[in-house]
Structures are given as C-alpha cells and as structure tokens.
C-alpha cells in the first residue's frame, strides 16, 4: 500500500516537475512547519536553492495542530520504512529518533564543511548522536529577551531593568501609572518561558544546567529553587488578570500598542514588531531578561536527517544539509525568522541591532559558559520531563494561593517520576 502510494505520488510529482525529473537528480522530502509569513518565504528560498542544484523538493503536508498530526504521520512513515529525507525535529527528540535507528550520519558533509569549527560545541552536541551528526541546526533563538516599549518607559520615567529587583521597582511604578507592567499569555509554554528566565537569573548558568539538564536533585529540591518559585510568582503578579489562554503574539501586540510595557519572550517576537513596521532600538527595545545579562538561553531549530535508500536521494539530502549551513541561506533565513545564524563566523552587518546584540552574547557566552539550553523549548530535557515541569509551573502560577515550598516538592517529585 505504502509503496503503491509512493509510486503514485512520485508519478504525480514527476508529471508536475517534468524538467526537474529529466535531470534524474534526487528528491528531498522535507517535513517543516514554516508555513506563514517570513518563515514561509525562508522555506521557499531553501526550496529554490535546492532546485538550482538540480534536486527536486517536496513539501511534507503539515495539517496544523502544533505539528502533532505531522509527527504522527512521520512516526507511521518511519516505522513502515518510508521516511522523508528531513524533518523539523529539535532538541532531545533528535536523540530519541537516533536511538531508534532512524537517522543517518551526516559526518561526511560535516567533515568536509568543517561544522565542528563553525558551530559552538554546546549546540553541536544536541545535533550529534554517539559523536556523529544526525541533524543540522538552522538557527539560534535567544529565549531570555525582554521586549520593551520605550515610550511607556519614558512616560513613567524609568529605565529598562537589568536585575529582578530593578524589574520589581520599575514594574511598581508602571503599575501606579496604570500600565500593565508585563504582557503575558497564560499558556503553559509561556509560563515556562518566563520561569526559564527567572530560573536562569536566580540559579545562574551552572545550577540551571544541573537542574534542567542533569536533573540534580540537590539543586531541584533546594531552598534556591523555592526562591526561584517565589521570584517567579512575584514577576507574574505584574501580569494583568485576563492573561489566561492569550496567545503570545497578542501579548506582544499589547507592548506594541503601549498598553503593556514589557514582555519576556524569545526573539521570534521580533516578527510581530517588524510586521508593525517598528525599528529595533528606536520604537522598541530588546534587552536581556532581568538578571540574565551576558547569559544566553538557546532554542535551536534543526532538521533531523533520516536514513534513505536511493543514492540520488541521499546525495540530495547531503546537499540539503550543506545548503542549510551556507552563509547565504543562514542570512536570508534568520533575517526572516528573527533568530541569528548558528555559524559564529558570519558577517552580521546585514542584521538589525537586536540580532547583532544577540550574536555578540551568543559568542561570548559560548566561551564563558553562560550559554544554556532552554528547557521550556525542549532543548534541555525530554518532552516527558519538560511536560512534567510545565505542569508544575503552570499549576503553581495559576493557583489562587501559590505556595513555593509545595511547588518545589512537586517539581522534584514530577521530575523524579519521569526520569
């Protein structure tokens, strides 16, 4: 049935792309969910680059639902031996797929292109399984950003806060003037994104890694974690009452319109500011989340490469991996997506001020150890443990009388049960 379908689609594709088929080059089928706005333009550019190299490109149909529907189809196809060439899988999920033996080694490309020199080790570790590259990183998002509306800040006469204590001071003043200090959407992943930033500020990069990467119970079940929850509750108390269920971009809209002063969110928020035709540094400011100056919580999008059988297709897959990391695509894609290139040797002059600042911190933190994987975006731990942490965090912040001590116990128990 599957092979039949495959032949049928192959037939349909070759009929549609007669010139490409005539070249007898390989086909890359790519599962991605870059379907809207700048992301879609970036995906189209990648497709064009592949076609210039003589390969044909096939989009894996993604029918919404946060990618869950697509993941189910991907699982079915992988199990029946008919996976796409590449799929947008990130973080620890890459390792899970690799453990099941579905992924292929990209070391021939990686060696030729010298990826180990281009990509900081903390990121290439995520892309590797047993020392071999099985996935290719596309971009780096910084999660610990604070987005600020400068007009509101000027109106109240406050500066952008750099520590949590300053944040509380500034927020009190903003609140007194009738502004919403912190724009936020009450969805579990957004709660976790703010928690992520507060945890990094309170614990520092080393203990952050111990807690969320190594799951060291001495850090998780400690007074310091209790302090994280206390500070987190305090930060969240500056969110308006109607945040429940609000989408992140609606919250960004509140900052743009000047209803709210600040938002803690990853740099994909920049897309919303750009869409409103605002200039970074003038109409809106990007600053590190309070207390995390010089530190960098990364969220990396990547393509995992599946084992294929046809030689032409394998060649096309390798070309895809190489093209993704080429400066041309890295610039084009990341300008559209709001993220920064994963290569540290890039010329950043074509990027905006926020991206340049992000890149500087990225390079510096890769050296001094301030670079940490974001647990709230699946880079630090398995989706199961991540989900367990989400449950505790979101339950804590939404309960009517949050108890940091109880939340710390719950966090320890939840992580323990999922390990």
């Amino acid at each position: 049935m599957n092979t039949f379908k495959r032949h049928l689609t192959a037939l349909a594709v070759s009929a549609a792309l007669m010139p490409a088929a005539a070249l007898q080059a390989g086909e890359v089928e790519v599962l991605h969910w870059w379907t809207a706005g700048g992301e879609a333009r970036a995906a189209a550019a990648l497709k064009e680059m592949m076609e210039e190299q003589g390969h044909s490109w096939k989009d894996f149909a993604v029918a919404g639902g946060g990618g869950e529907a697509a993941m189910t189809v991907l699982k079915t196809r992988a199990v029946s031996g008919n996976p796409p060439a590449a799929a947008q899988i990130k973080g620890l999920d890459i390792r899970e797929w690799a453990e099941l033996g579905f992924l292929t080694s990209l070391d021939s490309v990686a060696d030729a292109e010298n990826w180990d020199q281009l990509i900081p080790p903390r990121i290439s570790d995520v892309m590797k399984y047993e020392g071999e590259y099985v996935a290719v990183p596309v971009n780096v998002h910084r999660v610990n950003w604070l987005w600020v509306n400068p007009e509101v800040m000027d109106d109240v006469g406050v500066e952008v806060p750099t520590t949590l204590d300053e944040f509380f001071e500034v927020a009190d003043k903003l609140q007194a003037e009738g502004y919403i200090p912190l724009a936020h959407g009450g969805q579990p992943w957004q709660d976790a994104t703010v928690f992520d930033a507060v945890a990094l500020a309170q614990l520092g990069p080393d203990d952050y890694r111990k807690a969320f990467v190594d799951h060291d119970m001495n850090v998780i079940n400690s007074d310091r974690m209790e302090e994280v929850f206390t500070q987190f509750a305090k930060v969240m108390s500056y969110v308006d009452d109607d945040a429940a269920g609000r989408d992140w971009n609606t919250a960004t809209g509140m900052v743009i319109r000047g209803e709210a002063a600040m938002q803690i969110m990853g740099d994909w928020a920049k897309g919303e500011f750009s869409a409103a035709e605002l200039t970074p540094g003038e109409d809106y400011l990007c600053a590190p989340a309070p207390g995390t100056t010089g530190q960098f919580t990364f969220n990396v999008d990547s393509f995992a490469m599946f084992s294929l059988t046809e030689d032409e297709d394998i060649q096309a897959q390798k070309d895809l991996a190489r093209t993704i990391l080429e400066p041309e695509f890295q610039t084009l894609f990341n300008q559209n997506k709001g993220s920064i290139p994963v290569r540290t040797d890039m010329d950043m002059s074509a990027f905006d001020a926020c991206a340049q600042a992000s890149m500087e911190t990225f390079k510096a933190s890769a050296e001094d150890g301030g670079l940490v994987p974001s647990f709230s975006h699946g880079l630090a731990t398995t989706s199961y443990i991540q989900g367990q942490i989400f449950d505790v965090v979101t339950n804590f912040v939404n309960s009517n009388n949050p108890d940091p001590a109880k939340a710390t116990d719950q966090l320890a128990a939840a992580i323990q049960s999922a390990m």
Partner: protein, 308 residues
C-alpha cells in the same frame, strides 16, 4: 394438481436455489466489510491500547512489559487526579442540568403553544454546531476583556465582574455552561418525543380523578418516560467522558491544567509528550468508566425486553 405443480417447481429448483443462497449470503457479504472494519478499527485497537498500557512505550509503541507501573504512575499524577475530579464535576453537573432544562423545556413546549415548531428549532439548533464553534463563541462571551464583563462595563455597570473563565477554581464551570447550552435542546427533543407518545386517555382519566397538571406530570407522565431518561443519560454520559474539543476550544485545559479532562490528558501524554504507555493507561481507565455506565444500562434494558 400436485403432479402438475411439482414439475415447474422442480425445473425452477436450481435457479431459485442459487437465488436463495444468494439471498441468504448477500446481506452477510454486504455487511461483512463493515463488521471486519469495526472489529479491527474499534475492538482490535481497543485491545492494542490495552496491551500498550502495560508496556513502557514512549513515543513509539514498544513491547517491554512493565505490569501495572503506568497505572501506578497515573494514580500518583496530580494532573490525572485533577482531570478525574473535573470529569466528576463536569459530568455530574452537565448531565443533571441538561436533564432538568430539557425536561422543563419539553413540558412547556408540550402545552400546545403557538409557533412550537419554530421554538423547538431554536432550542435544538445549538446541537447542529460543532463543539469547537460552541467553545470559541463561549470563550469570547466569557472572556473578561472581550465579552460579557466588558459589555457591562461599557454600559456603565463598572462593578460587574465575571472572571470564571480565567479563574482556575471556577473555569471548569464555564465548560459546563457551554456544554449545557449545546446539549439541553437535544434532551428537550428526546423528552418532547416521549411526551407526545404518552397515551392521552391516561391523562384525561387522571384529570377526571381531580389531579392537577403538576401532579399528573410528576406522578404519571415522567415515571412513564424512564426509558427516555435512560437514553438521555447514556448519550450525555458519553459526551461528558469523551469531551475534548470543547475544552480545547474554550480553555485548552487552562488556566494551568485546571480544566483538564481525562481525554485532554490522554491526548497530551500520548501525542505531545511521547508517553504512549501512560496515555494508553489513561484511555483504558476512560473505557472502564464508560463500561461502568454502559453495562448496567444494557443489563437493565435487556432484562426489560425479556419481561415483555
């Protein structure tokens, strides 16, 4: 006579035998694919889910059996307990209020009022909407910044406050509201059909005996509608246990996971968090809950048939 008749019958024997055979087998042949599909698609997968619930399957099925470990994990999970408690609150209130509203509306409509057809259609219409639409509309109505509360503030009643949707202690009741709005018209239609089926001579006889209208309804008509009660409860219980889309559209389980229902829990763990074993275990417990309702019901239904 006998002789002449037996001959044509004998001649026609072969084709009619074929026809008979065909007639006997055709219905079975026609329904066979359906039965096979139901057998595999429903009962087969039910069994498979049962098997998976005893394994440590993560994001793909595996067959490492771990006994009841997934069920033990489920019982320790705070979120599952919240989901189960929510199902009890939601199911109880939803079924109770739907029945109450349905019966009352049906009795009112049964009073031979004018424009009954139009009114009946209006009450039944919510059933034609999908739960997603219902959920989205009610989310807008109940959202403090967009809906009712804002409207009241704009009209000058500035102390009006209705924040149940964003309050984790009360959000589950907003789901009950939306579900009741959707399903009570359907219950009304069931009861209306039942009421119309009640023999009017009994009512007339009761009137002659001097019974008032409420007494007639309470003592005579409603008790005779027991089968309708049963079917309504069955249908509503199913809707309650499998409720997923309404929650997803209205609150997505939030604030926090305060409006989680077992179906939402199952989906999140099986498909988002790669915990197929745990998800299957929760699905089996949901199946158990449905069976706990269904088996006594079927039993009582079948027993009644035997008595007839």
């Amino acid at each position: 006579m006998e002789h002449t008749q037996s001959r044509p019958a004998g001649v026609a024997k072969a084709p009619s035998g074929l026809m008979d055979g065909l007639q006997r087998w055709l219905p079975k042949l026609v329904v066979a694919p359906t039965f096979i599909l139901i057998g595999i698609g429903i009962y087969g997968y039910m069994l498979w889910t049962g098997v998976l619930s005893f394994t440590n399957s993560s994001f793909l099925p595996s067959y490492d059996f771990v006994g009841l470990a997934q069920y033990a994990k489920l019982m320790e999970s705070e979120r599952w307990l919240v989901a189960s408690r929510n199902l009890a609150i939601f199911g109880g209130l939803f079924i109770g209020i739907c029945l109450l509203i349905g019966v009352v509306l049906a009795i009112f409509l049964d009073q031979r009022i004018r424009q009954e057809g139009a009114i009946r259609t209006i009450y039944l219409y919510p059933m034609a909407l999908s739960m997603i639409v219902t959920g989205t509309v009610w989310r807008w109505i109940l959202n403090p910044r967009l809906g009712l509360e804002k409207l009241m503030h704009d009209w000058g009643w500035s102390s009006f406050s209705f924040d149940w949707l964003v309050n984790s202690d009360f959000a589950i009741y907003t789901i009950v509201m939306a579900a009741v709005w959707q399903a009570s018209g359907f219950v009304m239609a069931l009861f209306l059909a039942g009421l119309r089926g009640v023999d009017s001579s009994i009512i007339r006889a009761a009137r002659v005996d001097g019974a008032s209208l409420p007494v007639i309804y309470w003592k005579i008509i409603l008790p005779s509608l027991r089968p309708v009660f049963f079917s309504s409860v069955m249908v509503l219980a199913h809707i309650a246990i499998k409720s997923f889309d309404l929650v997803m559209a209205m609150t997505a389980g939030g604030p926090g996971y305060s409006t989680d229902l077992p179906a939402v829990f199952m989906y999140a763990h099986t498909f988002t968090r790669g915990q197929m074993g745990l998800g299957s275990a929760s699905a089996m417990l949901m199946l158990g809950a449905i069976l706990a309702l269904l088996v006594p019901y079927l039993y009582s239904e079948l027993r009644e048939k035997r008595h007839d």
